[in-house]
Amino acid sequence: MEVAKDPKTRDGRRTSPVVYDRACLEEVCGSCAMRVNGVARMACTALIDSLAQPVKLEPLAKFPVVRDLSVDRSSMFESLKRVKAWVPIDGTYDLGPGPRMAESERAYAYELSKCITCGNCLEVCPQVNDRSSFMGAAPISQVALFNRHPTGRMLAAERLDALMGEGGLDECGNAQNCVRACPKSIPLTTSIAEMFRATTAHGFRKLFGS
C-alpha cells in the first residue's frame, strides 16, 4: 500500500508498483505465497519488523510467473481435480441428516482441512521440478482428508488410483521439506505416510481382486 503510493526504483526513479497477488491478508486465501528473503512463505503474515533488511522478494519458482511476484498456481488445482478432492453428493434433493462422526476423528480431519493451496509445499519440494510431474504434498494430503470423510470415502479407491498413477506418491523423495514450509502446520508427512500404506493395501486388494 505505502509503496504503491509512490513507487521508486533503488536509485530513486519513479516506476510502476510491483504486481503481486493477495486477497484476505490473513492466511485464508493462499494467494500471496512468495519467497521472502529466500524463504517460501505467505507474504501477508511476514511482519516487516521481524525480517532482515533490506527485504528481498521473489516469486515462487515452481510455478509460471505472470508478472513480478504474481504466479499461476493452476497446476495445483488441476492436481486436486485429478485426485477428486471433493465429497460426492447430489445436491438436488434432501439427503437427510449427515453421517455421525467421532469428535476425535473430526478434530484430526480439521487439521488437514486447513490447507489454503498456497503452493509453498511444492515450492520447497526437490521432487517438484521441470523433469517430473510430481503433484506435491498438498493434493496427497487432501486425499487423506477426503478418504477420512464418511461420505468422501465413497471415492476412496479412485483417489488412491490417482495417487498410484503418474505424478503420484511414487515420486515422493521423502525430503520432508513440505511439512516445515506449511504455513498451517498441516501434518503433511504423516498424510503421505498414511497414503503410502493405503495405496499399498489398495494395490494388494486390486491384485488379488478382493
Binding site: 504503491a4 509512490d6 504486481v19 492466511e27 471433493w86
Partner: protein
C-alpha cells in the same frame, strides 16, 4: 458437502451461541466455519468443472452490463486481468455474487477484493441500491495498519469476556489487575446476554467506553479475555482464530487477554432484489423468476452484494445461510427467467460489440491518465473519511462534510496519473476503474446515512436491529418495500426507510457532538439514563411486528416504547 462440523460426544452436530442469541443454535467447524464452507463450495465447483457443467473464467473482472435496446440485461463485459483483453459475454441471465464493499472503508475485516466495484457499476447502469448505509461494524477486530482482522464472535460465544480496567489509563499488565478492578461492562449492563449482546450494541458500548477514556492504556482498545478457559478447549474450539491473533500481534491469547476494537465488517445493504410470494400461503413462491431479481430485467444478485435478509443488523453466521439460500432460489429463478424471456441474443448482435467498444475506449482513456494525483492516496482518504464518519457515529454535519469530500475526491480522480502503463497484467488500471466505482458507492452510503427521519434518539438503532433468522428478515423487508412508493430515479435512498441503524449512532444535533455523546454514555453507564433495552426489543415477537417510524418530522419516542406498543398490536 463435506464440511466436518464439530461433534458432540454422540457424534451429532454440536452448536454454539453467537451475539444476540440466547440459544446454542449454530453449527461450527472449529473457529473457521466460513472458511471451511468456502473450501467445500470451491471443491464442489471443481467437481462440476470436471463434469463439464461449469466453466470458470478466473482472473477476469466484471466491468459492466450488456443491455439490449429494451433495457434487458443480455450479458456482461469483462476484463482479462492478465492479457488486459476486454470481452463481451452473452448470457440468458446474469447473477452478481460479488460480495461486500468493505474496501470503501479503507481498512475492514473484508478481503481486499471486496471493493463493491461490480455492485457500483450495476447501480450506475440503473440497478437499484438499497440500504447502502446499513454497515455492520464488528465489535471485535484486531487493529492494524493494513487490515482489521476479525476476532470472530465465536470467541465470545465460547465464553470470552470483554473488560477494561476500572481506572482510566491503568498501565498495569492485564493479568495483574484484580477482578474487583476490572469493569466487565457488557456483563454488568446486559445481564441476560452478557458478552453476547448483538453486534451493534457491543460495538457501541466498546466505542463509548473508549470515548470516555476507559480504553486500555487510554487507547481505542478493550480486552477480550479468554485466559480463564483451559488451553486445550481453546485450541479445539478457537484454534484458528487464536493462531491468527498470535501471528499478527505476537502475543498468546491463551495467556494474555487480546486487545480489540470495532471494525467495519459487513454490508447489510446492497443491490435491491425482489422475491415473489405464493398467493395461496403467503410464503415464498420458490418457482418464481422474480426471486433475487434486481430491477434490471435479466440481472440477479445474491450474497453479500444483495440487500435482503438481514434488516439493519446481521446476526452471526446468518450471512452464509443467506448466501446459500439466495443461491438456492436465485439459480432456478435465473434459468426460468432466461427461458421466459426467450432465446439469448446472438453473439453477433450489435449490443455486445457496442458494450465492448465502450469499455475498450474507457480503458484506453484510463491508460492515458497522466495527472498529478495518485489513486492509492485518494483511496486512503476515502477510507479514512468513511471510517471516521459513516460507521459507528454518524453526525449530520460530518455526513455532509463527507459527501463534499467524496465529491472533491471524485474531481481529483479525474487528475490521476497512472503509474503503470504496461498492457500486461496491469493492476493499476483496474484499480483506478474500481476506485471510481468505490467513490460512487461511498456517496450512496453517506447520503443514505443522512436520510430522513432525523434520528435524535440514539437507541433508534435498537428497533428492528435484531431480526429473526433469514426468512423473517425477508418478510419484513418486503413488507416495508410495499409501503414505499417505488421511485425509479437513481437516488441513493431506495429500498426501505432507514428506521434503524447498524451498530451506528446517528447524531442529529450538530452542537458539540462528542460532548453530547460522552455525556449520554456516562449517564447511561452510571445508571442515570436507562440502559438500552436489549432484552425487550430483542424479543422476536416485537421485532416481527415493528413498523417503521413516520417518514417526516422528528421521532423522539424511545424505541423501547415503540417495541412495547407494537408487540401489543
Amino acid at each position: 458437502m463435506g464440511v466436518m462440523f464439530n461433534r458432540t460426544p454422540e457424534g451429532l452436530l454440536d452448536f454454539r451461541r453467537f451475539g444476540g442469541t440466547k440459544f446454542h443454535r449454530t453449527a461450527f467447524a472449529g473457529a473457521t466455519t466460513g472458511q471451511q464452507l468456502l473450501y467445500a463450495l470451491d471443491e464442489q465447483v471443481r467437481r462440476f468443472e470436471v463434469e463439464g457443467l461449469v466453466h470458470k473464467h478466473e482472473m477476469w473482472e466484471f466491468l459492466g452490463l450488456v443491455r439490449d435496446s429494451d433495457g434487458n440485461c443480455r450479458g456482461i463485459v469483462a476484463l482479462d486481468c492478465v492479457s488486459m483483453r476486454i470481452e463481451a459475454f452473452p448470457a440468458m441471465s446474469v447473477m452478481l455474487a460479488t460480495g461486500g464493499p468493505g474496501i470503501v472503508f479503507g481498512r475492514s475485516t473484508n478481503s481486499v477484493i471486496n471493493t463493491g466495484t461490480a455492485a457500483s457499476a450495476a447501480y450506475q447502469e440503473g440497478a437499484r441500491y438499497a440500504n447502502g448505509e446499513f454497515i455492520q461494524v464488528h465489535p471485535t477486530s484486531i487493529p492494524a495498519s493494513d487490515k482489521l482482522r476479525l476476532m470472530s464472535e465465536s470467541a465470545r460465544g465460547e465464553g470470552g469476556r470483554v473488560w477494561v480496567p476500572r481506572a482510566r489509563g491503568d498501565k498495569r499488565a492485564p493479568k495483574s489487575i484484580p477482578e474487583s478492578e476490572r469493569w466487565y461492562f457488557l456483563e454488568e449492563k446486559y445481564p441476560a446476554y452478557g458478552n453476547l449482546v448483538p453486534r451493534d450494541i457491543a460495538t457501541r458500548e466498546i466505542f463509548q467506553v473508549c470515548l470516555m477514556g476507559y480504553g486500555v492504556g487510554g487507547k481505542r482498545e478493550v480486552y477480550l479475555d479468554l485466559t480463564h478457559i483451559p488451553r486445550k478447549e481453546l485450541d479445539i474450539k478457537l484454534g484458528g482464530i487464536l493462531e491468527i491473533y498470535e501471528k499478527f500481534v505476537g502475543e498468546d491469547p491463551r495467556e494474555v487477554p487480546m486487545k480489540v476494537f470495532p471494525g467495519m465488517h459487513y454490508s447489510m445493504g446492497g443491490l435491491w432484489v425482489d422475491y415473489a410470494a405464493d398467493p395461496r400461503h403467503g410464503t415464498l413462491d420458490e418457482t418464481s423468476p422474480r426471486n433475487q431479481a434486481t430491477n434490471v430485467p435479466g440481472l440477479y444478485a445474491a450474497g453479500e452484494v444483495d440487500y435482503l435478509y438481514h434488516g439493519a443488523n446481521r446476526l452471526g453466521a446468518n450471512s452464509l445461510v443467506a448466501c446459500l439460500y439466495a443461491g438456492k432460489i436465485g439459480g432456478p429463478a435465473m434459468v426460468r427467467d432466461g427461458r421466459d424471456r426467450g432465446a439469448r441474443l446472438p453473439p453477433g448482435d450489435g449490443a455486445f460489440a457496442g458494450a465492448k467498444k465502450k469499455w475498450e475506449m474507457e480503458f484506453a482513456r484510463l491508460a492515458r491518465l497522466s495527472g498529478p494525483e495518485n489513486p492509492h492516496v485518494i483511496a486512503e482518504e476515502m477510507g479514512d473519511w468513511m471510517t471516521d464518519n459513516v460507521t459507528v457515529i454518524r453526525h449530520d454535519g460530518k455526513l455532509a462534510e463527507t459527501d463534499a469530500k467524496l465529491q472533491e475526491l471524485a474531481e481529483r480522480w479525474d487528475r490521476i496519473g497512472l503509474s503503470d502503463r504496461s498492457s500486461f497484467a496491469n493492476r493499476e488500471i483496474s484499480f483506478v476503474n474500481q476506485l471510481r466505482n468505490m467513490l460512487v458507492l461511498a456517496r450512496v452510503m453517506t447520503r443514505g446515512a443522512g436520510r430522513a427521519p432525523a434520528r435524535g434518539v440514539p437507541r433508534r438503532a435498537l428497533q428492528g436491529a435484531r431480526p429473526r433468522e433469514g426468512g423473517h428478515g425477508r418478510k419484513r423487508a418486503s413488507a416495508r418495500r410495499r409501503e414505499l412508493p417505488q421511485n425509479d430515479d437513481r437516488r441513493a435512498h431506495r429500498g426501505w426507510p432507514a428506521d434503524h441503524l447498524c451498530g451506528g449512532e446517528h447524531v442529529a444535533d450538530s452542537a458539540a457532538p462528542a460532548e453530547v455523546l460522552r455525556d449520554r454514555a456516562s449517564q447511561r453507564l452510571t445508571g442515570k439514563l436507562p440502559p438500552a433495552c436489549p432484552e425487550r426489543s430483542a424479543s422476536t415477537s416485537a421485532a416481527r411486528t415493528l413498523r417503521p417510524p413516520p417518514l417526516t418530522g422528528r421521532s423522539t419516542s424511545c424505541p423501547t416504547d415503540r417495541a412495547r406498543t407494537s408487540s401489543r398490536s
